[in-house]
């Protein structure tokens, strides 16, 4: 589904990704781990077509994603519809007057009729257990509730790939357990999950595969989840645990 070949990315003179190659198949669940500033967030932005590599290529479902290609309105919209991004900072993602509108934003854009939009919104709210927040303003919610609304607003687009940037950050244990279950269910329903995280305890069992980024902005290891997380020495050596 996603194939990245020898990709390099620089912010002006700062290298953010160095010769990164990665293949993610449909239905996989992949965790990205690594120290702060190792390029995880940049990588997620790149997958979502917010930034573009300076060299190398990114292929999504058989088609190369380039800045030029995404300038075509339709291509870019279809691409963004198929891949959903939950930002680390939920505040940034919520811009509608109330929770219902927030979740309905995507389906309405897709031109669905009101009945269908309403169904999608209600299903998403129910799935995230935030039905009672329906009429609240997003900015008055707690951190955990904001995260749930952000996820619901992305899910309502029914993306095939769900990208999450540190979803467990600033969430209480109950919320974390809830998100864990949710991600598991979504993955089982056939969605590809890509997620950057620092929190190993609560993501146990979600991911089968881990990609480790190094402080030098390269991919250090790409392996089965249990084998990486079990390798205490490796994790400590590379500033992950």
């Amino acid at each position: 589904m996603i194939e990245i070949k020898n990709l390099n990315f620089k912010y002006k003179t700062n290298v953010a990704l160095k010769d990164v190659s990665l293949k993610i198949r449909e239905g996989e669940s992949v965790a990205l781990i690594g120290p702060n500033g190792s390029g995880k967030s940049t990588f997620l932005k790149l997958i979502n077509g917010i930034v573009f590599g300076n060299s190398g290529s990114y292929i999504f479902d058989g088609e190369e994603i380039t800045e030029k290609r995404l300038q075509d309105n339709r291509v870019s919209k279809l691409f963004h519809k198929r891949i959903g991004f939950v930002f680390q900072n939920s505040d940034a993602q919520l811009f509608c007057p109330n929770v219902y509108e927030e979740v309905a934003f995507g389906p309405r854009q897709m031109g669905m009729d009101d009945g269908e939009v309403d169904k999608r919104v209600r299903d998403c709210l129910k799935l995230l257990d935030i039905e009672k927040l329906k009429d609240r303003e997003p900015y008055n919610l707690s951190g955990g509730e904001k995260r749930k609304v952000a996820i619901a607003s992305v899910l309502s687009l029914n993306p095939e790939v769900l990208v999450l940037d540190e979803p467990m950050n600033g969430i209480d244990p109950k919320g974390k357990r809830f998100l864990r279950e949710l991600i598991l269910r979504l993955n089982k329903s056939g969605k590809t999950i890509i997620c950057s995280t620092h929190d190993f305890e609560y993501v146990k069992g979600i991911f089968k595969r881990v990609v480790v980024f190094s402080e030098e902005h390269t991919i250090l290891r790409d392996d089965a989840y249990d084998s990486v997380i079990g390798d205490e020495e490796f994790l400590i050596k590379h500033n992950i645990k």
């Binding site: 003179t13 979502n48 995507g106 029914n158």
Partner: protein
């Protein structure tokens, strides 16, 4: 879980104009990079000058440049500024020259009526002065850190509280700019179809920004109070005076001295 989540949507987007969001994103990126570019400065001559001296002489040069009515003086200053400019990094020379070309073009357009009325020499003089001023201002902005500039203001007898406000403003332009950029990205990623109410979404972004800034202001005030802030702020400056600075002073004093010889006619 709902059935539709298990299925893939057959979805083909409709044609819609999204230039609006893209342009806003580019605009923000541009402003942010202006502030961010101060992260690393090279070790060139103009870069390593004492900011207080640099700011002081830049202001003086601009004042005398605008007072002068002599072509000779104005172009001596311009040549001097071009010389200094040529000691910067290539990228920055390019950027500065670009700005100092565009602004005079606008000036020419504004001055066209006056030129047609026969005021050719004065218009040319004005144009030359504008080129010099723009280069001088851009040079200081490209070669000095913002924080150093605000500190340098202290020597111009500007109260500390104002300097504090300048510093905080700069910081928040950056933080809020980055935040709004993220919001625009989020909006773009979810704009997967046709949206007849684009401005409505942008109002949402602006509203979010306002609330965020209000929260941040309140938070910062409490944080300052917790650290013992009581309305007084003293900014400390420690800049060294080196041989390079001495040379710079000498050169500028000479240029300003020239004004009294040739610049006053």
């Amino acid at each position: 879980m709902a059935d539709w989540l298990f299925e893939k949507d057959e979805y083909i987007p409709k044609e819609d104009k999204v230039k609006f969001i893209d342009k806003s994103i580019l605009g923000f990126l541009n402003i942010l990079s202006l502030i961010k570019r101060k992260a690393s400065l090279s070790n060139g001559y103009v870069y390593s000058l004492n900011p207080v001296i640099k700011l002081g002489f830049t202001i003086l040069i601009i004042i005398f440049l605008s007072l002068s009515r002599s072509f000779l003086f104005v172009w001596t200053v311009n040549v001097y500024l071009f010389l200094l400019l040529s000691s910067l990094n290539g990228e920055e020379i390019k950027d500065i020259l670009k700005v100092s070309l565009i602004v005079p073009i606008f000036t020419i357009i504004i001055l066209i009526p006056s030129i047609l009325m026969g005021n050719k020499l004065n218009s040319l003089l004005m144009l030359s002065k504008i080129i010099g001023t723009i280069i001088a201002i851009n040079m200081i902005s490209y070669t000095t850190r913002w924080t150093h500039l605000t500190k340098a203001l202290k020597l111009m007898c500007i109260p500390d509280v104002f300097i504090l406000v300048f510093d905080i403003t700069l910081k928040y332009i950056y933080i809020l700019g980055e935040f709004s950029l993220e919001m625009l990205y989020a909006l773009k990623l979810r704009s997967v179809g046709s949206n007849n109410n684009k401005y409505g979404s942008i109002t949402g972004v602006i509203g979010g920004l306002f609330l965020k800034s209000k929260d941040m202001a309140e938070e910062m005030y409490s944080a300052m109070e917790c650290r013992g802030f009581s309305g007084e702020y003293s900014s400390n400056i420690k800049f060294k005076f080196t041989f390079k600075d001495f040379m710079y002073c000498l050169l500028n004093t000479f240029i300003i001295g020239l004004y009294f010889y040739i610049g006053r006619m």
